[in-house]
């Protein structure tokens, strides 16, 4: 028994060490199941927008995007279509432009406003001024999608990744990752494909 008691601190020590080594391997930002913190960011109309403003929403399609990335541009119409399809069902698109506008002047607020007007965006197009929000999410590129489900514990991250499996040609898409995820959530089901990968433009710091 005494020996066993002596082993307890050793076991705890091992746990403690493993805590360090394991922590090293986890990457930054939200993972599936995490609660996403709310934010308050400036919209192209000058108003501040928070997730809490959307009282009736069941969740959100948070989309990190910008004007200047060709990948993001290829997906503009599809992001707009997502908002048209899902905002009324309770999952509005919230677009956030994460780039440093000193590096990418084409992504500055007036340019964002111009682009939104040209394309007729029906969703808020927010600017991450000071670049404090995108690192919390762990977004690395544009476009980068995070689907959140509103629960009484907060907005839970349910999906991270791409919009679909073909950036080049919307008509050649085989799997619509985001639509499948939101459809599942609307039915109260588990999201099947929780994380996907796609090429994108690195976020400019």
């Amino acid at each position: 028994m005494k020996k066993f008691v002596k082993l307890v601190p050793v076991a705890i020590l091992l746990l403690f060490i493993s805590a360090f080594t394991l922590n090293k391997t986890t990457h930054n930002g939200y993972e599936i199941g995490d609660v996403a913190e709310d934010f308050s960011l400036k919209n192209i109309d000058g108003n501040m927008v928070s997730l809490a403003d959307y009282k009736d929403a069941k969740g959100f399609i948070v989309t990190f995007t910008c004007n200047t990335c060709p990948f993001a541009v290829m997906y503009e119409d599809r992001v707009q279509a997502l908002n048209e399809k899902y905002a009324a069902k309770g999952y509005p698109v919230i677009a956030i432009m994460p780039n440093n506008t000193d590096v990418k002047p084409g992504d500055a607020l007036p340019e964002m406003k111009k682009r939104a007007e040209e394309k007729g965006f029906t969703f808020p197009y927010l600017i991450d001024e000071g670049q404090k929000v995108y690192p919390k999410f762990g977004a690395t590129k544009t476009p980068h999608i995070y689907i959140l489900e509103k629960t009484n514990k907060g907005n839970i991250v349910k999906y991270i990744g791409a919009i679909d499996d073909n950036h080049k040609d919307a008509s050649a898409v085989k799997v619509k990752f985001v639509e499948n995820a939101v459809d599942a959530l609307l039915k109260g089901e588990e999201v099947q494909q929780k994380e996907t990968k796609a090429i994108g433009c690195s976020i400019k710091v």
Partner: protein, 213 residues
């Protein structure tokens, strides 16, 4: 000595208790990780079976990889789908390969290209080869990519990866790659490092030196 060890343990015990919650979390994470490994193993087994089934089809798609005819002149692009490209990541010929994923539309990629070019020139005699993997869009090969290669007189080998099913191939390149570019792999035989970042010449040289004996 014994006392010292005992004290250290006590110290850790104290800290550990403070970290009890964290430990619990870590333990759960650890168990989940184990579960993940199991699932991945099962998936891999299933995947292998599937692969055998579809191997014939895959070969066909690889063969389909065509040389893009260049009407305008001398540059001929080597274009691959992922299956065709995979060979470039798995050479075992004692050479150090520096594989850089880039595109003409990616500003930080274009900015770091001269460093890769310099590396290729400076380390050629040390058995190092730079391969620049363009992810440019097919409809811009003639309008953007070829003129870019020409104007910048790229001396490193340039190949083009054109495979829309990114969710399938990105994790195969490296499981930690989120998909942003620039991204670079340095490898020699079985030793491999992946970098989802921009480089300057000094950083790049430092990383490559790790692979040279």
């Amino acid at each position: 000595m014994k006392i010292v060890i005992h004290k250290t343990l006590k110290h850790f015990l104290h800290k550990s208790l403070l970290n009890y919650r964290k430990c619990k979390e870590v333990l759960i994470n650890f168990m989940l990780m184990k579960l993940n490994v199991l699932i991945v193993a099962i998936l891999l087994m299933v995947g292998c079976k599937e692969k055998n089934k579809t191997a014939k089809v895959d070969n066909q798609t690889t063969e389909k990889v065509a040389k893009n005819e260049d009407v305008s002149g001398d540059i001929e692009l080597e274009i691959y789908d992922y299956l065709g490209f995979e060979d470039f990541l798995n050479k075992k010929d004692d050479k150090t390969y520096v594989i850089n994923f880039w595109a003409t539309w990616c500003a930080p990629c274009v900015k770091e290209l001269p460093f890769f070019e310099k590396l290729n020139a400076d380390y050629k005699n040390k058995n190092v080869e730079v391969i620049l993997v363009s992810l440019d869009f097919p409809h811009l090969y003639d309008k953007k990519l070829k003129p870019f290669i020409k104007e910048n007189k790229l001396a490193s080998k340039v190949i083009v990866l054109d495979d829309a099913d990114m969710n399938t191939w990105i994790p195969k390149v490296d499981e930690n790659w989120s998909g942003s570019i620039p991204a670079t792999i340095i490898y020699k035989n079985d030793k491999k490092q992946f970098y989802e970042q921009s480089f300057n010449y000094e950083e790049l040289e430092k990383e490559v030196k790790q692979f040279l004996n």
